[in-house]
């Protein structure tokens, strides 16, 4: 299919509108294509585009579920209320903090794991691959509980294991302050998602041509030089995809925060704020506005990545 593939991407889109370009067969194929792919496409729009439009609509109203009679149009007032409130900015800051810390650590750690898997002896490679998939298979909520219980005052072993570290003692309350709570949340997130990053990077590593490595070695490049000048530039696409996907994913962090702190001690993230407004306080108007802002943040991050780093998704995601 490689030959047809390369012609499908652009020429097809350009050829079809040409007046005489579409034969009966091409038109039939066009129709069949949409018959087959249409339902999936429609369902995707229905479960995302429709709700977000609905959310935008509700965000313009002052609307509480417990008081449905008093619904009134307020324009952009909800947005003004949120954007001038320190609650929003705290949660935004926490979300950015978690995103930056986890993604940075995951990239470095994931790359190390990928290097080990790449170079490990053949005999232990399957073992490593199996092991690395385990965090991926564990539900986020379960991972959050595991880490929370490990650090918690009444059930944890961390304090007794690490009491030789400065600042850690038998009664260190990890969930008692913002910084230490965020530390544990980040740990859990990193543990759970690093394997995914490392698998993407491993696939990228495998794409670096051996010839280049060999040539650099012959020319007397050190391991470090080869890493920076040959390996990393050649797997830029894989790194960018891992970075983009993990950033967007981390920005939506919700499960771990819910389980570990429920937003206590200023650890609320944007997703958690939206949840709390809508589901707990049934402020549909305000909650919808937070949801729309969260959505816009994700869109902006995505555009920033694609424009700023020139991530060509169509190219990397297998559409060559």
């Amino acid at each position: 299919m490689t030959t047809t593939e390369s012609t499908t991407a652009r020429p097809a889109a350009g050829a079809a509108p040409a007046p005489r370009g579409g034969s009966d067969r091409a038109r039939a194929e066009q129709k069949l294509g949409w018959y087959l792919a249409g339902p999936a496409f429609a369902v995707m729009l229905l479960v995302t585009a429709y709700p977000i439009v609905q959310a935008f609509y509700y965000s313009l109203f002052d609307y509480r579920l417990t008081d449905p009679e008093n619904i009134s149009f307020v324009g952009l007032k909800n947005y003004a209320v949120i954007l001038t409130d320190s609650i929003w900015w705290t949660s935004f800051g926490v979300t950015v903090f978690i995103t930056v810390v986890t993604v940075a650590v995951e990239l470095v750690l994931g790359f190390l794991l990928a290097l080990v898997m790449m170079n490990a002896l053949k005999a232990i490679r399957p073992v490593l691959r199996a092991a690395i998939l385990i965090p991926y298979a564990v539900i986020t909520v379960v991972s959050a509980f595991s880490w929370q219980y490990a650090f918690s005052l009444d059930s944890g072993f961390v304090n007794s294991w690490f009491d030789w570290l400065p600042g850690v003692s038998a009664d260190t309350d990890w969930f008692g302050s913002t910084g230490s709570s965020l530390f544990v949340i980040c740990l859990a997130e990193i543990w759970k998602t690093t394997p995914f990053v490392s698998l993407l990077l491993l696939a990228g590593l495998a794409q670096v041509p051996d010839v280049l490595q060999e040539a650099a070695r012959v020319d007397g490049a050190t391991w470090w030089q080869r890493m920076w000048k040959v390996t990393l530039p050649n797997m830029k696409a894989a790194i960018m995809v891992a970075l983009l996907f993990r950033t967007l994913d981390a920005f939506r962090v919700f499960d771990s925060v819910f389980v570990m702190t429920a937003g206590a001690n200023n650890t609320e993230t944007v997703s958690f704020l939206a949840y709390r407004q809508t589901i707990a306080r049934v402020e549909i108007g305000l909650g919808s506005a937070v949801s729309v802002l969260l959505f816009l943040s994700v869109v902006i991050i995505c555009i920033g990545f694609i424009k700023g780093f020139k991530v060509d998704l169509s190219q990397v995601r297998g559409e060559k």
Binding site: V116, V138, F145, D255
Partner: protein, 277 residues
């Protein structure tokens, strides 16, 4: 490779295995602690006790846990099945046919995949309440499609692209009917891709927490992750560590086993959809 390097890689390998297993080992160990052992501040229980499992499977917590387990299984299997059927047709069209809008469909799938779940939850919460889907199975199955469909479409089209479709024609030249050629040649080649996609989609649905906690209110449809999340909130002062750990182990072990059995395919599926060489 020198002996020193060998040792180094082996040590690094062991470090990875410990890294991956540690939190899982901890939750298993915690689930085996009896209630007076929970606070022993040690990693391992002093003596193995099955009381936590008893409590969630036949004891007082069973009426919370077992319905949630049933809901999770039912909802995730149906959502996976629907996503696979829909994306099978879509991926076939994307891999095989030449039609306008192919790019549009793939980009839409990508956009849906990065969509913040919570942004969908807010309007759905309201809508589901109005049309009576709140706290029902379909009320979760429909939003789960937003999680499972994009991944299924990407992964399956990546798999389908690898299929040598010419073989179908070859079979027809050899005298097979269209249907025979499809059934005997293409279906066996496509099955592994579909199967892998199904496993990945199931994981994603199984892992969901945001929808589960927002769109349900009772045991009628609440899935396990949400039930676990709320279980802890029941009492502020005495968290039921043991039973939660036991429940966590029960929902984790089958998935881990699944992963270990199909690891090769899962790795291919995860990376195929994302970075294609």
């Amino acid at each position: 490779m020198s002996t020193r390097e060998r040792v180094l890689w082996i040590v690094a390998g062991i470090a990875i295995v410990v890294y991956a297993l540690f939190p899982v080992g901890w939750i298993v160990s915690l689930s085996l602690k009896s209630s007076d052992d929970i606070a022993n501040k040690q990693f391992l229980p002093t003596s193995v006790s099955w009381s936590n499992y008893e409590q969630i499977l036949v004891g007082d917590a069973a009426e919370l846990f077992l319905p949630a387990l049933r809901n999770s299984f039912g909802i995730c299997i149906i959502a996976t099945f629907l996503a696979c059927v829909l994306s099978m047709f879509a991926a076939y069209a994307i891999a095989r046919l030449d039609f306008r809008g192919k790019k549009l469909i793939l980009s839409t799938a990508l956009a849906v995949a990065i969509f913040p779940v919570i942004s969908i939850v807010t309007p759905l919460f309201n809508l589901w309440r109005q049309i009576g889907l709140y706290d029902t199975w379909p009320g979760l199955i429909i939003p789960y499609l937003s999680l499972t469909l994009p991944l299924s479409i990407w992964t399956m089209s990546a798999f389908f692209r690898e299929i040598p479709w010419e073989m179908e024609q070859a079979a027809q030249v050899d005298g097979a009917t269209t249907w025979q050629a499809f059934r005997k040649v293409i279906v066996p080649l496509a099955t592994p891709g579909v199967f892998t996609t199904a496993i990945l989609a199931f994981f994603i649905a199984w892992n969901d927490f945001a929808y589960g906690i927002s769109l349900t209110s009772t045991g009628a449809s609440r899935p396990v992750p949400a039930a676990l999340g709320l279980f802890s909130g029941a009492s502020q002062f005495e968290s039921p560590y043991g039973p939660i750990a036991a429940a966590a182990v029960i929902v984790t072990i089958p998935v881990v086993v699944l992963v270990l059995i199909f690891q090769r395919r899962i790795v291919a599926g995860l990376t195929n959809g994302a970075v294609k060489g």
